[in-house]
């Protein structure tokens, strides 16, 4: 049994959360997923603030980040992660509906590790999510200090 890294999914739309979880379930990755419904909650989780005050201070193995989010948007979250000494090592994958070039450029400039446009086709969507999950949570060696489950 390989170790599975924790996935932080930042997604405001419950339907997208459900579809993503469905895709991840196939490899039993869904148990290790934490969902934050907006940018603020994601930052609270990462900085162990608010309702995440008591969680263990280890980082997730990967962050799946939507860009269009209530309160604090995805690019802002990304910018805060990449400018924090402790958090900057967390691999961040932008997972968005938009194919807008400027979002892509802005994300890469901020140091995103991957940029994925959610396909409209469900099979493609499921495949993309599965591959992402498998790669970042299992195949990829997460940086030291990440939450892993044997």
């Amino acid at each position: 049994m390989p170790t599975i890294g924790r996935i932080l999914l930042v997604e405001d739309d419950p339907r997208d959360v459900e579809l993503t979880m469905t895709a991840l379930e196939e490899y039993n990755l869904s148990n290790e997923v934490v969902v934050a419904v907006d940018g603020e909650e994601a930052l609270d989780y990462l900085f162990c603030r608010g309702k995440f005050q008591r969680r263990t201070s280890e980082n997730p193995a990967v962050l799946l980040l939507d860009l269009k989010l209530p309160k604090v948007d995805g690019l802002e979250v990304l910018q805060q992660i990449k400018s924090d000494e402790k958090l900057r090592m967390i691999p961040v994958v932008v997972l968005t509906s938009s194919r807008e070039e400027r979002d892509m450029i802005a994300s890469y400039k901020l140091g995103v590790n991957a940029y994925v446009v959610k396909p409209v086709d469900f099979h493609e969507f499921v495949n993309a999510i599965k591959e992402l999950g498998v790669f970042w949570a299992i195949i990829n060696e997460a940086p030291p200090g990440s939450i892993k489950k044997k």
């Binding site: 739309d13 339907r15 997208d16 579809l19 469905t22 860009l67 269009k68 968005t96 509906s97 938009s98 194919r99 807008e100 959610k118 396909p119 409209v120 086709d121 469900f122 099979h123 969507f125």
Partner: protein, 496 residues
């Protein structure tokens, strides 16, 4: 009489002058002798003096001296004792001396008088010439259409040319004698003291003035002042030359207004463009998410509940999926289309021939297994955005490939008519299904299709994209077609 005068004029002048001296003395002598024969003695001397006076008056001092000598001799010979002899008795000397003195005095006075008169006449002539020249100069100033007037140091107008009359509507009679700044209600661009100071310092001043004409309308003039000084360097007059620049000013004002409007329009356009961009951004994000959900949940339903559905139900679900996917394609196409107008063009020299080759090889999966005869003529290089031009060609060539699908042997010709005066025309001709010319104006509209999706797939955005790209390159696009006989698409592009 006149004949006599002309014959007189033929005689040389000295002869005439001295002749007159001799003649007058001779007449005086004759008259004196005649009177003496009647016993009137003592009139000889006044008569001779008269002769001398006439001579000096009319022909000058030289002949007068001759007249004087002759008179003296004649007087001495005929009238001073002993008569008929030039000898003089003692008693006759005072007589003769007085005569000589009076004659000399007379000659002298007369000569002075004559000289003064001649000088007077000369200076009068000079004055007249001067006046003539001045009058001519003044009338020359009247010829110009420029507005010229002269005012003295207290601003009183002393000269007013025709140009001034034409511009301001005041006649010289009305203007001369008035204070110019009162008459014209001058508005100065700077305090008048500063202007005066500059005029006195440099002798000139230039600037724009506002004046009011006789008909109460306002006029803007470009004004040049020159200061005239007398020999003691005190200012005596100002020459003011004005040019009407009202029209020019109005033109400038209009240009300024138009620029202002243009600026406003640009700002508006920028705002609209921003809005459009925000709109496209939100379509890109928000319109796709629900589609993905429709597709996702329908797929899940199909997977989990398909056994519960009958054939009809399964068909419904398939249709939902197909429609949702089609909508996804439409959204993508629409976004790509709107990106063409928003994107900045990066213009370089582009080889159309090279571009066509690239497009042909990229369409391999559509041309594979097809019998297509390509006729690609020599194509020009042109200046434009490479990726946009390529997109236009992709659309046109893939259309040609698509609509010849039903032909056992497809023919696609790509060529160029370079003969046009201000541009070149590239054409793409096929022998495909063609179209009805009555729908030609719909061809380039967004989402306009002339075929059913079942016949030929597509969203109807391709030709709209082509048109937008060619328009952005300053060109035109049009088409000719016949149902069943193929279509030709033309692009006119400006020459590089």
């Amino acid at each position: 009489m006149s004949r006599w005068k002309t014959s007189l004029a033929k005689i040389p002048s000295p002869v005439r002058r001295y002749g007159l001296a001799i003649l007058t003395v001779a007449i005086a002598l004759g008259a004196a002798l005649l009177l003496a024969s009647y016993g009137f003695l003592g009139v000889a001397q006044p008569l001779f003096l008269l002769a001398i006076a006439i001579t000096v008056w009319f022909v000058g001092p030289g002949p007068a001296i001759l007249a004087f000598v002759l008179s003296t001799l004649a007087d001495d010979y005929f009238f001073i004792e002993p008569r008929y002899s030039l000898l003089i008795e003692r008693s006759g000397v005072p007589h003769l001396v007085i005569f000589i003195l009076i004659a000399l005095l007379l000659t002298w006075f007369s000569a002075i008088r004559r000289r003064i008169e001649r000088e007077l006449r000369q200076s009068r002539d000079e004055l007249e010439r001067e006046v003539a020249v001045r009058t001519q100069q003044a009338s020359l100033l009247n010829l110009t259409h420029d507005t010229i007037f002269v005012r003295d140091v207290s601003d009183i107008i002393t000269y007013w040319n025709r140009g001034a009359q034409e511009l301001y509507g005041w006649t010289p009679e009305q203007a001369v004698g008035k204070r110019s700044h009162d008459l014209l209600r001058t508005v100065f661009p700077a305090p008048i003291d500063d202007i005066t100071a500059e005029l006195l310092r440099t002798g000139r001043w230039e600037g724009e003035l506002k004046h009011v004409k006789a008909d109460q309308t306002e006029v803007v003039v470009s004004s040049r002042w020159s200061l005239q000084r007398n020999e003691h360097m005190s200012p005596i007059a100002v020459l003011e030359t004005n040019n009407d620049i009202t029209e020019r000013k109005r033109g400038e004002e209009e240009v300024r207004n138009l620029n202002q409007q243009l600026g406003n329009r640009t700002t508006e356009l920028e705002a609209i463009n921003k809005e459009l961009e925000a709109f496209a951004y939100s379509i890109s994000h928000d319109l796709r998410a629900p589609l993905r959900h429709i597709v996702g949940y329908t797929e899940l339903l199909q997977k989990n509940a398909s056994s519960l559905l009958d054939e009809k139900g399964r068909r419904y679900m398939a249709t939902i999926l197909e429609s949702a996917k089609r909508m996804g394609t439409l959204i993508d196409d629409l976004l790509a289309f709107s990106r063409i107008s928003r994107a900045e063009t990066r213009e370089t020299m582009v080889s159309l021939e090279q571009l066509v080759k690239e497009v042909q090889s990229e369409l391999w999966h559509e041309t594979e297994g097809r019998n297509i005869i390509w006729k690609v003529g020599p194509l020009p290089d042109l200046y434009g955005d490479r990726s946009m031009l390529k997109l236009a060609l992709v659309n046109l060539i893939s259309n040609a490939v698509k609509f010849t699908r039903t032909r056992p042997q497809a023919e696609i010709e790509i060529g160029c008519n370079d003969g046009q005066k201000d541009g070149m025309v590239v054409f793409i001709r096929d022998n495909g299904v063609g179209f009805d010319m009555k729908y030609v104006n719909k061809l380039f509209g967004v989402f306009q299709r002339l075929h059913r999706t079942e016949e030929f797939e597509g969203t109807g955005i391709g030709l709209a994209t082509v048109q937008r790209i060619i328009h952005r390159h300053g060109g035109k696009v049009w088409a000719e077609g016949l149902v069943g006989s193929g279509a030709t698409f033309y692009l006119s592009l400006p020459k590089p």
